[in-house]
């Protein structure tokens, strides 16, 4: 697993080993070829996965690396989508409106983060829950800006005069943004900023004793996360092409958090795994819906309850998510047949009080 490093370049390179470069290069190449090999429907589904991955990476920085849960991230997705659509329809070119959508989301993140992040992470969860429903309500009532319940059509974007058409254009666009976002995230994680975030996650008190300004770094993390989610939102707007405020409600927020929990907290791989899972689950349900016994497939609340059930099972039995399971599997085969059952035994944990009396 580990390698002997012989030069500083190896330490600086993002990819790590040469075999990593080969494998990720192959992955990227095959992703580039997807629109040539598959029909429009699958390209559309793949773009959806990519868009969820971008949002997943954004939320992973917050939840997986800083240890804060946001239950209103769909609001940032919505803010990004609406900001992008409104800017485009006012004549702002797409190359500007996309980053602006991210910046506006980030600004909204700062606005909600500054007052709430001084307190424990619990308050952030509650505050973002409230923030999420406020944003949806405002979107519904502010007819002049958002079109309210009538929805808002999203103009077709164009880059340097070339229109980006559905679905292939959106696919490549989302892929490019995802690569950029991953590049940013990987770099953030190895700067002092990223180290500070991980330190805060592991112990706020020890991080503070090391001179980390908790409120500042939490706010920065929240802003970056909101900004990246806003980028995903802008692309999401182009994917659905018609925005409605109620589609950015609590259910979408829960889906986004499910991405990071199912994928595996604290790994960028996890964000991607989780996004693949969450984005494709509805399709998988639709495929098997008619074959399920006892009419289970016909129950109206099937999809949200399945999300709930999977979330509960993952938290109870595999807190490290898909990525953690994958690492265990890899370790098992690497060490075969010397695998030790105790390597991954979960340590007994005790309630840690956060109170002082």
């Amino acid at each position: 697993m580990s390698q002997l490093k012989t030069s500083y370049e190896q330490d600086l390179s993002l990819a790590g080993t040469r075999s990593n470069v080969v494998w990720y290069g192959l992955l990227l190449a095959s992703l580039l070829l997807v629109p040539l090999a598959f029909s429009e429907f699958y390209v559309g589904e793949m773009s959806f996965v990519l868009i969820y991955s971008i949002a997943g990476v954004g939320l992973m920085l917050l939840t997986g690396y800083t240890g804060l849960v946001s239950l209103g991230h769909a609001a940032f997705l919505g803010i990004g989508a609406y900001a992008n659509a409104i800017l485009l329809s006012r004549g702002v070119p797409f190359v500007l409106s996309l980053p602006l959508a991210g910046l506006i989301s980030a600004a909204a993140g700062v606005a909600i983060g500054i007052p709430t992040l001084r307190m424990s992470g619990l308050y952030l969860a509650i505050a973002t829950l409230a923030f999420g429903s406020i944003v949806v309500l405002v979107g519904e009532k502010w007819h002049g800006l958002t079109g309210g319940f009538d929805g808002l059509p999203v103009p077709t974007p164009s880059i340097l005069g070339i229109a980006v058409e559905e679905p292939t254009g959106i696919y490549y666009l989302a892929l490019a943004v995802l690569v950029f976002v991953l590049f940013v995230a990987m770099n953030i994680l190895r700067t002092p900023l990223g180290r500070a975030l991980v330190a805060i996650r592991d112990s706020e008190i020890s991080a503070q004793s090391m001179g980390i300004n908790l409120a500042f770094y939490k706010t920065v993390s929240f802003a970056i996360s909101a900004g990246l989610t806003g980028l995903a939102g802008a692309l999401f707007g182009h994917y659905v092409r018609h925005l409605a405020p109620d589609s950015f409600g609590i259910l979408l927020s829960i889906q986004l958090v499910t991405i990071v929990f199912i994928g595996g907290l604290g790994s960028l791989h996890g964000a991607i795994f989780g996004a693949v899972f969450v984005a494709l689950l509805p399709q998988a349900i639709a495929l098997v819906r008619d074959d399920l016994p006892f009419g289970i497939g016909q129950l109206p609340g099937l999809e949200p309850s399945l999300f709930g059930l999977i979330l509960v099972l993952v938290i109870m039995f595999e807190p490290t998510g898909i990525h953690g399971r994958w690492l265990k599997l890899k370790r098992y085969f690497l060490a075969f047949p010397l695998h030790q059952r105790t390597s991954f035994r979960r340590q007994k944990s005790y309630a840690k009080s956060e109170r002082l009396r």
Binding site: L122, L129, I254, V257, I315, S353, E354, L356
Partner: protein, 294 residues
């Protein structure tokens, strides 16, 4: 004169609604004080309580009071099992794991209730439905609202006596103040925690049954939980009287906003109250500032 009566009327309506929020908030606070877990499925426990009562009273045709008691017992038992089978396993995991776990449970409860009782709103007749109590000088209250307020007061009295006078209640206080010391004193802390979950689910059931004359029962009635959050935060998360006071304040502010402010602001009120309390006075009205243990 008219204005005074109208304001009194709004305040009374708000107090009744607020008592419901307060009771749900009480459930949050009881669990939070004892186990430091936040139960995002509290609203859904209330929804289940309402459906249990509907089953006993409307479907089985039992007497209202008997059905009321049975619903409390059934929801309480459900809360006990929920802690014993699910929540106890995640003790020691980070706080947000519990948040996500209870959110997941909320979705499961909602879908299960929909599968069992259907997605249509239902209700049943109570002794308080469509009865009016006249307080003179034009102030008219539904008996349903009076029953909510009186019920809340009785419930608080019972809980107060329970926590201050009974052995079990004092054991619960002890376990929530210092788990380790409670263990040393021979208190079965884990059972006590499950019992606290049971009480909190039972309180949710009381709120649900009292709410029935005012609001229909449906799968999404658990969304009241977000308003209860506002109540709990306003009262200072972790303060039992604070939860009730917060609930009443949120209820009254909501009624006044619904009357005096433009349409649509009523739904926003509780959220705005919640956010502004977090910004202005995060420890709430009655909460004490708590520093972290190093």
């Amino acid at each position: 004169m008219d204005d005074v009566v109208r304001i009194l009327q709004l305040v009374a309506n708000g107090t009744a609604a607020g008592c419901i929020y307060g009771m749900v908030a009480l459930g949050f606070v009881l669990i939070y004080k004892a186990t430091e877990m936040v139960n995002f499925a509290q609203g859904e426990l209330m929804m289940l309580g309402a459906f249990f009562a509907f089953t006993f009273i409307e479907l089985w045709g039992l007497n209202y009071w008997l059905g009321f008691l049975l619903a409390i017992a059934a929801t309480g038992a459900f809360g006990y099992l929920l802690d014993a089978l699910v929540l106890r396993r995640v003790i020691g995991q980070p706080q947000f794991a519990v948040v996500m776990l209870t959110l997941g449970l909320a979705f499961i409860f909602r879908a299960t209730a929909g599968a069992i009782w259907g997605y249509d709103a239902v209700g049943f007749t109570t002794p308080f439905t469509n009865q009016v109590a006249n307080f003179g000088s034009g102030l008219v209250l539904g008996k349903d609202q009076v029953s909510i307020i009186v019920g809340t007061v009785i419930l608080c009295g019972v809980l107060y006596l329970f926590f201050s006078r009974t052995r079990l209640g004092i054991a619960m206080q002890a376990s929530s103040q210092n788990q380790l010391a409670a263990y040393y004193m021979g208190i079965p802390v884990r059972t006590v925690f499950s019992l606290i979950w049971a009480i909190s689910a039972g309180v949710a059931a009381v709120a649900a049954v009292l709410l029935v004359p005012v609001q229909m029962i449906d799968v999404n009635m658990g969304l009241i939980g977000i308003k209860a959050f506002a109540a709990a935060v306003l009262g200072g998360f972790g303060s039992i009287p604070g939860a009730l006071v917060g609930g009443v304040i949120v209820g009254i502010v909501e009624q006044l906003a619904g009357y005096y402010l433009p349409a649509g602001s009523m739904e926003l009120t509780s959220n705005i109250v919640l956010l502004s309390v977090l910004i202005v006075r995060p420890q709430g009205l009655l909460g004490q500032t708590i520093r972290k243990r190093v």
